[in-house]
């Protein structure tokens, strides 16, 4: 089948999409945006987090056809050209990246959190990030990055 959607501001029409295919697969394999990751494909890890019409979702759990005519923003769409988004910069500065497989999903999730709440408290940060697994960092420097980005935004 055919799916038309806007990804990171660019309109795309994709043919030959399988009916049961996920938005994640479509983004990675058809649109050529492998930034969104595929650590579990069952909604548990958040490495595939993208915006679907302004809502942060697991792209692995959205059927590609459900994204027809929608606007998708992926991690690749957050920076302004060479200029990193403040959330991205905070991840780099705080040392919140190790292997980096969780990073794209976390960057989008934190971007979403800070868009909704400018000054999240500890429990709030933990709750908001509970759907993003990271196996390397123990999360501590990721929390640092959230606080750094929040501080910068204020």
């Amino acid at each position: 089948m055919r799916v038309d959607l806007e990804v990171n501001g660019v309109r795309r029409s994709l043919d030959g999409v399988r009916e049961g295919e996920s938005l994640l697969h479509l983004l990675r394999e058809r649109v050529g945006l492998p930034g969104s990751k595929n650590a579990c494909e069952q909604g548990e890890c958040g490495s595939c987090t993208v915006y679907l019409d302004e809502t942060a979702v697991c792209a692995c759990l959205v059927a590609a056809g459900q994204a027809q005519d929608s606007r998708v923003v992926t991690v690749e769409g957050l920076a302004d050209g060479a200029e990193l988004h403040p959330v991205q910069r905070a991840f780099v500065e705080a040392g919140a990246v190790q292997c980096g497989f969780c990073t794209p999903g976390l960057v989008v999730t934190v971007h979403d959190l800070l868009a909704r709440t400018s000054d999240p408290g500890e429990a709030e940060i933990r709750e908001a990030l509970a759907g993003n697994l990271c196996r390397c960092t123990g999360y501590e420097k990721i929390f640092d990055a959230v606080r750094l980005a929040a501080g910068e935004a204020r």
């Binding site: 945006l33 492998p34 990751k37 548990e44 980096g100 990030l129 390397c136 960092t137």
Partner: protein
């Protein structure tokens, strides 16, 4: 030539600085290419046909239905393996594709290539394999006792390490405690799935882009399996999404190469999470029987330990894990007499192998549980008991090896014990046991504090020729000096690329350093495990830099007309200490300089086969943990409130990265303590998903309090000690101890489930 007075400026982001990762920007932008992100025109996808039986004869494979699907190109079985159909890290005992026998559920029997991944998977499901089921041996005790089928030619015992030292004291006035402990099977649960891209080339060779911990050992095994000379199997490391031991063994590599070479087309393979659980080895499940004897004033007299590790269907690194578990079974304590038997066996369970901590984690839970039990029996404070027996420099370990280098075990423990305790539980249910489940308002909540001390070897042991290779090139580019570092050392997330660049900056006084992609075009770097890579490949980079520096200084000496001995490199110039004059390196680099160096640590000896005595280890690393937990005794839910960890790292080459290793290690230790277990019944993994194999989330991981000691070693680059594993080792023991402290009851198995906690709390 410009000869000018020196500008003494220390190089930025050198050794000791928290330099940023060179790959961080690409990673936060989503532009870093992991092995699962690779693609190629004309690429097809591979998928694996796996055994549904734990033990069976393979009677035949019928691929006709699969091949009949349009878009399916090829199905290969054991007969199609051109070289030796065996691989394995210690023994080549595992078939690339099963021949007449399968030994575990998930063993690869055939591989399929098709136009897209979904089709490949469907085709794999259509490959019909006829099996005749055989009785499966899934109980390691039975395997040890010789009951059940014999799974490999040499029998079911993989290794038996016997350690005997000192004479067991006579039974007068000795306090004796015994215990039996169990550790479940932990999964590395790296987030990046096993994946690779194999590209055949015109000379009948193959270029493989993959995630691994050790390029050259992959190359070695692949060349033999493919029947090719090593130089025709070229590997390049692609982005690795975590490893933790789970990428030491081959997974997709051989299968993808086989398909690619046969088809003459690039082949990509990538596992889903479910397949990943059978696609790599796990941490050995362990059963341990201990007996400790001590004087009334708390001095250890002897330790007896009997340890059984389930190695699963193939050897992988079981022998080395057995060695480690045995060597460290008594912990970081002075013990005059030891009697340790550590065994690993083959079973029809999924194979076990390397995971961060490598045998030392399991026994740490054993010896630390025993120390707490002994403290209780003596009526002594558990910290005090440990302090009284902690090894120090000059102490003798269970294997008779004297501890050289810093061994601040007591100090580490004092540090964690001395930290202020966290405040009492608050009222936000999210930060109480159960977290988001809203299951308590702190009714009857119990707080507990527990400790763990640990020791593990750094680098490879027991006579292994462990080395690393580095090539360093300096050149002038655009008026600037650039250093390029090339090794085959695998960056798996730990930050090796950062550290290599820092070393080059410090050694060469050059700011711009590029780390070239790791590949097999340069010499062996050894494995990114055993906490060895900063030491060994870092050492190699340092040595190569030293060789480059010597040549630069020779050139500078000529220009300045001074002896090279008085010159040093600094901020892109060669500076004379005598005259204060300097010459920019750019001007010395009309032709570039390249040097390759190999770095070895000192020799080690194998252990005596009868007594287990010998100087088998290069170095010991130590860590101490203190865990504070809140327990809901009725439901058994636990929230870890805080974990303090103190570790001696010798020299923190990159303090921020050291902290990152500590945080991550603690999280994995917490996971093993509380929730992580691959549950296996009759050889089948019951929970091969992140829905049922649980790893800690942000709601589970508490704040940590870190204490990093830097007591330099005499025998390592910059005095460093490996940092990757210690922060995991005693974390599970400390968490379990804290829960015991809270509920006042014994807990002899990790992971400690809520159900076990609730039962223990009732029984108390």
């Amino acid at each position: 030539m410009t000869v000018a007075p020196a500008r003494p400026v220390a190089v930025r982001d050198g050794v000791g600085d928290s330099a940023r990762r060179p790959d961080a920007v690409a990673k936060v932008r989503g532009e870093f290419a992991f092995s699962s992100d690779l693609g190629h025109d004309r690429m097809v996808w591979g998928a694996t046909v796996r055994s549904p039986h734990a033990h069976a004869r393979v009677l035949g494979v019928d691929a006709s239905a699969a091949l009949a699907l349009p878009g399916v190109h090829l199905v290969l079985t054991a007969g199609d393996v051109p070289g030796v159909n065996r691989y394995g890290l210690e023994r080549r005992d595992q078939p690339v594709l099963a021949e007449d026998l399968v030994r575990y559920i998930g063993e690869a029997v055939a591989v399929v290539a098709a136009d897209d991944p979904e089709l490949a998977r469907r085709a794999a499901a259509l490959v019909r394999v006829d099996y005749a089921e055989l009785p499966a041996l899934t109980d390691p005790e039975l395997a040890l006792s010789g009951g059940g089928p014999v799974l490999h030619e040499d029998g079911n015992l993989v290794r038996h390490l016997r350690i005997r030292r000192g004479a067991m004291p006579a039974a007068a006035d000795i306090v004796v405690v015994t215990g039996e402990y169990e550790v479940g099977m932990q999964d590395q649960a790296f987030l990046g799935p096993e994946s690779c891209l194999a590209v055949p080339d015109a000379d009948d060779g193959v270029d493989l882009y993959c995630s691994t911990q050790w390029l050259h050992v992959d190359q070695d095994q692949l060349a033999d399996c493919l029947g090719l000379p090593a130089e025709k199997v070229r590997l390049t490391l692609s982005g690795v999404g975590g490893a933790f031991g789970g990428r030491e063994d081959l997974s997709v590599q051989a299968h993808a190469c086989l398909l690619a070479l046969r088809l003459g087309r690039p082949v990509k393979m990538s596992y889903g999470r479910e397949e990943s659980f059978v696609g790599h080895v796990h941490r050995h499940p362990a059963r341990m029987r201990y007996e400790h004897g001590a004087t009334r004033d708390g001095r250890l007299l002897y330790v007896k330990a009997d340890i059984l590790l389930d190695g699963g269907a193939y050897a992988s690194t079981s022998a080395a894990v057995t060695g480690n578990a045995g060597c460290f079974a008594a912990g970081p304590y002075e013990v005059p007499a030891v009697e340790i038997d550590c065994r690993s066996v083959y079973t029809n369970n999924p194979p076990a192998g390397a995971m961060r901590g490598f045998g030392a984690v399991q026994v740490c839970f054993g010896h630390e549980s025993q120390m707490d039990r002994l403290a209780a029996a003596l009526g002594m404070d558990p910290v005090e008991l440990r302090l009284r027996n902690a090894v120090d420099t000059g102490s003798v370990m269970a294997t008779g090896q004297r501890v050289e280098g810093p061994a601040p075990v007591a100090e580490l423990l004092r540090r964690v014990a001395g930290k202020p305790l966290p405040p009492p539980p608050g009222t936000d249910p999210r930060l109480l046991p159960g977290g988001m489940s809203n299951s308590t308002r702190a009714e009857g909540l119990l707080r507990g504090v527990g400790y763990g001390l640990s020791v593990k070897n750094i680098c490879k042991s027991a006579g292994y020729d462990d080395f690393g290779t580095a090539r360093v090139r300096v050149l002038a580019r655009g008026g600037d000096v650039l250093a390029e570092v090339h090794t085959a050392a695998a960056e798996v997330g730990q930050g090796l690329v950062t550290v290599q660049a820092q070393i080059a900056r410090t050694e060469l006084g050059v700011e711009r350093v590029t780390i070239l992609p790791a590949d097999t075009a340069v010499g062996d770097a050894g494995t990114s495990s055993a906490s060895r890579q900063t030491w060994i490949s870092g050492g190699a980079v340092r040595a190569a830099c030293a060789a480059v520096r010597a040549r630069l200084l020779e050139r500078a000496a000529e220009v300045l007309g001074e002896g090279a001995e008085a010159l040093r490199l600094e901020s892109g110039q060669a500076v004379s200490e005598l005259s204060g004059r300097a010459v920019p390196l750019v001007e010395l680099l009309v032709t570039e300089i390249e040097e390759t160096a190999v770095f070895r640590h000192r020799d080690t000896q194998p252990l005596d086969p009868e007594t287990g005595q010998g100087d088998a280890h290069v170095a010991y690393a130590f860590a101490a943990h203190r865990a504070v937990v809140d327990v809901d005794p009725e439901l058994g839910s636990v929230r870890v409130v805080e974990i303090a960890c103190a570790q001696d790292v010798g020299k923190a080459i990159n303090p921020a990265a050291v902290e990152g290793q500590m945080h991550g290690g603690i999280a994995q230790g917490l996971g093993l303590a509380l929730m992580e277990e691959v549950k296996v019944r009759d050889g089948r993994i019951l929970n091969p998903s992140f829905t049922d194999y649980l790893i800690p989330t942000t709601m589970d991981m508490p704040p940590t309090v870190l204490d990093i000691l830097e007591l330099p070693r005499a025998d390592s680059p910059y005095g460093l000690t490996g940092v990757g594993e210690p922060p995991l080792l005693s974390a599970p023991a400390a968490v379990a101890a804290a829960i015991r402290d809270a509920v006042g009851a014994a807990l002899d198995r990790i992971p400690v489930t809520p159900e076990a906690v609730a039962a223990a709390a009732v029984g108390r």
